[in-house]
């Protein structure tokens, strides 16, 4: 936030508001996932859960640059994207538990949360599966001239899927307003990305003529600044862009992935958590720059934890869908 130095009071206030807002959003994601972990380890959550903890700055920074009616597509590790785009934790938890009040009436679960109200086209359990969808949303936006932008979130593992190259080619040919956001958390499940990824990642979109940038995925302001620039560019007809965000996932590929020593060291995990944590980094900056004090941040955490607990309770109390629901929504 060195950019704040010398700026007008109004700019500082805006920056403060935004920073606090980013902080809040990141903590919400972190504490949402804390509850998911808890539900899962208490065997209260069915299926698999892929936590976003450690990667919060990306979803928050990118979605911070979007309008409510801009589109996103998300992944199996999608809770962060949903929340950052504005979803309600209550309805998300209800979905995670397969309850009637969930975003998808319990039919989608953790990997399929979708919400038209916030432009969320849906998480996707097929790695790379949403790349066409996001590009298609951008195709609509261009055709309908409604000024919207689509963001496609995916992990670096999805770089293995040929679909990405097909749709990047289309997006560039047709100058579609789509931003491809690659979250490189270093692992495809249990395999280091260097074993699965040849060459230079950003050279791939660049080969199709797509503007590509790399950003520190642990620095929410850096992510936001880059996303804002690329989204504005796309919105004003500048065409697609690619944003590589370097990050780390704190826990297992999914909650059940406990013994990770065979593919990565505890030391590596520890270093990221202590030295590169996006929430701590922002918190320290806010305090150092006098934009917030420790008490405010701690108070926020307490308040959000209570919100998340209440959301879980709501979800726990929500009924399962009635049996008759099972055959509904197969066809529109």
């Amino acid at each position: 936030m060195t950019t704040a130095a010398g700026a007008s009071a109004k700019t500082i206030a805006t920056l403060q508001d935004r920073s606090i807002q980013f902080y809040r959003q990141m903590v919400r994601i972190r504490l949402f996932e804390e509850q998911v972990n808890d539900l899962y380890t208490r065997a209260l959550m069915p299926g698999l859960a892929h936590l976003y903890s450690g990667e919060e700055a990306i979803a928050v920074g990118v979605c911070g640059a979007l309008h409510q009616d801009d589109y996103i597509t998300s992944t199996h590790r999608g809770h962060g994207h949903c929340l950052a785009k504005g979803a309600s934790p209550k309805l998300m938890f209800a979905e995670l538990l397969g309850k009637a009040d969930g975003y998808c009436h319990g039919k989608g679960g953790s990997m399929h949360i979708a919400d038209p109200a916030t432009g969320n086209l849906g998480a996707n359990a097929i790695v790379g599966g949403s790349m066409g969808i996001a590009t298609g949303a951008a195709f609509s936006a261009r055709r309908l001239g409604n000024g919207r932008v689509a963001v496609c979130f995916f992990g670096e593992g999805a770089l293995g899927q040929g679909l990405l190259y097909e749709v990047m080619n289309l997006a560039q040919l047709w100058k579609l307003p789509v931003l491809y956001v690659c979250e490189n958390n270093l692992y495809n499940e249990y395999t280091h990305f260097s074993e699965t990824t040849a060459g230079d990642i950003c050279a791939r979109p660049a080969a199709f003529g797509i503007h590509a940038e790399t950003v520190d995925g642990q620095d929410v302001h850096a992510v936001y600044a880059a996303a804002q620039r690329l989204v504005d560019r796309a919105r004003s007809g500048g065409g697609p862009a690619f944003l590589l965000c370097n990050t780390y996932r704190y826990t297992g590929h999914h909650v059940g992935d406990i013994n990770r020593e065979y593919y990565r060291t505890r030391q590596e995990e520890q270093t990221w958590k202590t030295e590169r944590d996006p929430i701590r980094l922002l918190g320290d900056r806010l305090i150092a720059e006098g934009l917030a004090d420790r008490g405010l941040l701690e108070g926020m955490e307490v308040e959000i934890r209570a919100e998340m607990k209440a959301a879980v309770e709501f979800a726990m109390e929500s009924p399962y869908p009635a049996a008759g629901e099972v055959e509904k929504h197969v066809y529109a």
């Binding site: 969930g102 038209p116 599966g129 066409g132 996001a134």
Partner: protein, 332 residues
């Protein structure tokens, strides 16, 4: 021409007319595919459309079947009504993830929140000397997948009426056209607007001794066989389901009940395919009225050979249907 409102159109002309009418009616309808614009597709089915609707709505794509099908899924979710053109049905193999894991499931997974109103037009059929990778009839795969609808018209009239309905449908519809029919098959089509609902079989010829249930290319074969049978004193009823899903089970079953004998004829592979389903439906529904088992006639269970005399052996013919039917009627 007895009826002033009737014109004789080829199958291809009927398709083109349906598209043109729907594109005039609804600006959201657009076409995506390889060589669909100036070339009007290699089959020349779309000739003239780009001149009327422009390259914004009749969009030539790269050779990226998965990519542009995915784009259509996303575009359909966000306000357009794309009609995707997959030149040869064999190339559907490249679109399976987009059609089956995405298009077919999005409405259900989202608990009814998103819809995917798109049509995928493609071809089926052998005897064109196109060999194994350009001759398959893969419609059974799609009928197997809940969330998709499958239309498989056999006449210009049905093609036009069903395509218009498919474009207006809120769900993904796969529309199969027999390549050999495009320019060879002519039929009466009213000049006035009409549509045909999905899920209503059509009795193409009434009869009393045996039911021939036939699809797509096999309808003409069945009708030809019925003429031969008439010569042998056997009255054959020809029933065309027109759509595989929804499937008008009742019409099929009622006909079989009436005649007490049935053959099902489809150009796809018989094994684990359309003939299996139709035969099962009839067997189950008309069991106690049948004189003998339902007989299935499909493509031989082999990759389609190039060599003309070999290829001609692989598909049911008027003669083979006639002989099978005569034997069945003789027995009783």
């Amino acid at each position: 021409m007895p009826d002033a409102g009737m014109r004789e159109l080829t199958f291809a002309q009927a398709i083109r007319e349906a598209l043109a009418e729907e594109m005039r009616r609804d600006p959201r309808v657009c076409i995506l595919g390889e060589d669909v614009a100036e070339a009007g597709t290699p089959f020349k089915v779309l000739s003239g459309l780009v001149e009327e609707f422009g390259t914004d709505r009749v969009v030539d794509t790269p050779i990226s079947e998965a990519g542009f099908t995915g784009v259509a899924v996303g575009a359909a979710m966000t306000g357009l009504r794309p009609v995707v053109d997959i030149m040869f049905g064999d190339f559907l193999t490249l679109t399976m993830d987009q059609m089956v894991n995405q298009a077919a499931k999005i409405h259900y997974m989202s608990g009814g929140k998103w819809k995917v109103p798109m049509v995928l037009r493609t071809t089926l059929g052998a005897t064109r000397r196109s060999a194994a990778q350009h001759s398959q009839s893969l419609h059974a795969w799609f009928a197997h997948v809940p969330g998709l609808k499958v239309a498989i018209p056999a006449t210009p009239y049905d093609a036009k009426g069903l395509l218009k309905t498919a474009i207006r449908d809120e769900n993904p519809v796969i529309f199969f056209e027999d390549k050999m029919m495009h320019h060879k098959l002519k039929g009466n089509v009213p000049a006035a607007e009409f549509t045909i609902p999905l899920g209503v079989a059509d009795v193409k010829r009434e009869g009393t001794d045996i039911t021939l249930v036939a699809t797509s290319s096999m309808v003409q074969v069945a009708l030809g066989a019925a003429v031969l049978l008439e010569g042998a004193g056997i009255s054959a009823e020809v029933v065309d389901p027109r759509t595989l899903w929804p499937l008008d089970e009742k019409t099929l079953i009622d006909s079989a009940k009436k005649t007490s004998r049935a053959i099902v004829i489809d150009e796809g592979y018989g094994r684990y395919g359309v003939t299996a389903e139709l035969a099962s439906v009839i067997s189950q529904g008309a069991f106690f009225d049948l004189d003998g088992p339902v007989v299935r006639m499909g493509a031989m269970h082999i990759p389609i050979p190039f060599s003309p005399p070999l290829e001609d052996l692989t598909v049911p013919t008027e003669k083979s249907v006639f002989e099978t039917a005569r034997k069945m009627c003789a027995k009783a």
